[in-house]
Amino acid sequence: MDSFWSVLGGAFALVFALDPDLMEIIGLSMRVTLTAVFFACLIGLPLGAAVGVFKFPGRTFLAVSLNALMGLPPVVVGLVVYLLLSASGPLGPLRLLYTPTAMIIAQMIIVTPIVAALTRQVVDDLNREYAEQFASLGVGAIDRLVSLLWDARYSLLTVALAGFGRAVAEVGAVLIVGGNINHVTRVMTTTIALETSKGNLQLALALGVILLLIAFAVNACVMAIRATAVRAAYA
């Protein structure tokens, strides 16, 4: 096996060769993961904020459950989604198994608790800080929720990035529900698993480096948006 640096060089060579197959795989990875994170935020942000702000019976139980679900094993999620989407399963007629949509559903289930649990913590803390102000102004429940989410937006971007990190690195669930079908459901992580099983360890490692670079680029983009927003806000 060559040195780590030659693998790294190989990774860059792969990227700059703009191999159409590799581009397709990277594109699908991004499409699946970003869509999953988008819908996970759509559900997780309001859910987490609601648990953080509202007082209701079972609130602590719900908070603990959300925290526990952050540890959902992806393989189990994959198995459950497979059983649901299988032709013999309750959602079989939708014909979603072995499609990118199935992978998005699985990743969404994995990421939503992460987004919800972290949002709950952020919003809960901020809510304590704002409690007196809210009380003196007589702010309604929904308005509270919206202003807390808005004021915590920069922390929540990091929450979304945590969800993205988990989803983009995930292989167990998408392998089962996607099937790692060439040109259809093959993403970065399943390609890495496949190349490892072919014994092409160098290529697998190079693909891993590329995945890391992509994650870096996405994080850099979000940080840039955030920096611009902060500058504009205080300008």
Partner: protein, 278 residues
């Protein structure tokens, strides 16, 4: 930056990222449940484009162990089953999940082991005697342990050798519970003997100092079969397109395409779909 601009920026960034690749048009396709050996050896990448050019049908391969492939097909999650464990395949057809089974091609299993050969089995062609020597020497043996076709074949051979290898599980007998490639990676890593199909071994990129030590026993014959999933069991099965694929595999053109696939000049699979040796 006000609220609307902030949210709009995020939404725009999201749309840019996800629209980079739009969904492919849903053209004609079938799903084939198959094994890791056919995929990892590169056979499908060689023959499927030929089939697609001829018929316009895209074949989507889900490559898992034979056991899992059969279970998936039993659930109706596939149109064609292309695996290598004849008894399990015949049961699948007898249970009404498959229309009928045809031989497609064969190759053979081999035992690979470290060059040091701690059990001194190199050059043996009697697989049963070789397994007995490995067990006698308590030399490390890595098993698939995943109910795949190769795993079932391995268990049959242990049975023929009259050795209860699973009793030594965790000692010299290591069940990896994973695919052929992962098991080979483990085997080369821990210096273990491994039973593998020849095609996967030839195409494998991480051989280390392992080499083929036992080969040539007729009991290591490895037959692949193809089955159309029964539309009577699962009405949504694309039986028309699936049948076209089965017929093509068994046709002269399909059989020649299989025979043409070589790595380093070595033929990996030998077609016998027209009633050749089986």
């Amino acid at each position: 930056m006000n609220r609307r601009t902030f949210l709009a920026t995020l939404l725009l960034a999201f749309l840019c990222a996800t629209s980079a690749q739009t969904a492919r048009a849903d053209d004609k396709f079938i799903i084939v449940q198959s094994t890791t050996s056919t995929q990892n050896s590169g056979l499908f990448e060689h023959i499927l484009p030929i089939f697609r050019d001829k018929t316009g049908i895209e074949v989507r391969v889900v490559a898992v162990g034979t056991g899992q492939a059969i279970r998936n097909a039993t659930n109706g999650d596939g149109d064609v089953l292309f695996v290598h464990s004849k008894p399990a395949e015949e049961k699948f057809v007898a249970d009404g999940f498959g229309v009928s089974r045809s031989d497609v091609m064969y190759n053979d299993f081999v035992i690979v082991g470290p060059a040091a050969d701690p059990a001194s089995v190199r050059g043996m062609s009697d697989v049963v005697a070789a397994l007995q020597k490995i067990a006698g020497a308590k030399a490390t043996f890595a098993s698939r342990g995943d109910d795949s076709g190769t795993h079932k074949a391995e268990l049959r051979l242990w049975q023929a050798a009259d050795i209860d290898a699973q009793a030594a599980s965790g000692e010299w007998y290591r069940e990896t519970g994973s695919g052929m490639g992962a098991t080979l990676n483990t085997g080369t890593g821990m210096g273990a003997y491994v039973l593998t199909d020849r095609a996967t071994w030839i195409a494998f990129g991480n051989k280390g100092n392992h080499e083929i030590v036992v080969e040539g026993d007729p009991r290591m014959f490895n037959q692949y079969g193809v089955i159309l999933v029964n539309p009577k069991a699962h009405p949504h099965v694309k039986s028309e397109e699936g049948q076209v694929f089965v017929d093509w595999l068994l046709s002269n053109e399909g059989q020649n395409a299989i025979a043409d696939y070589k790595i380093d000049g070595q033929q990996l699979f030998f077609p016998n779909g027209n009633g050749g040796p089986s």
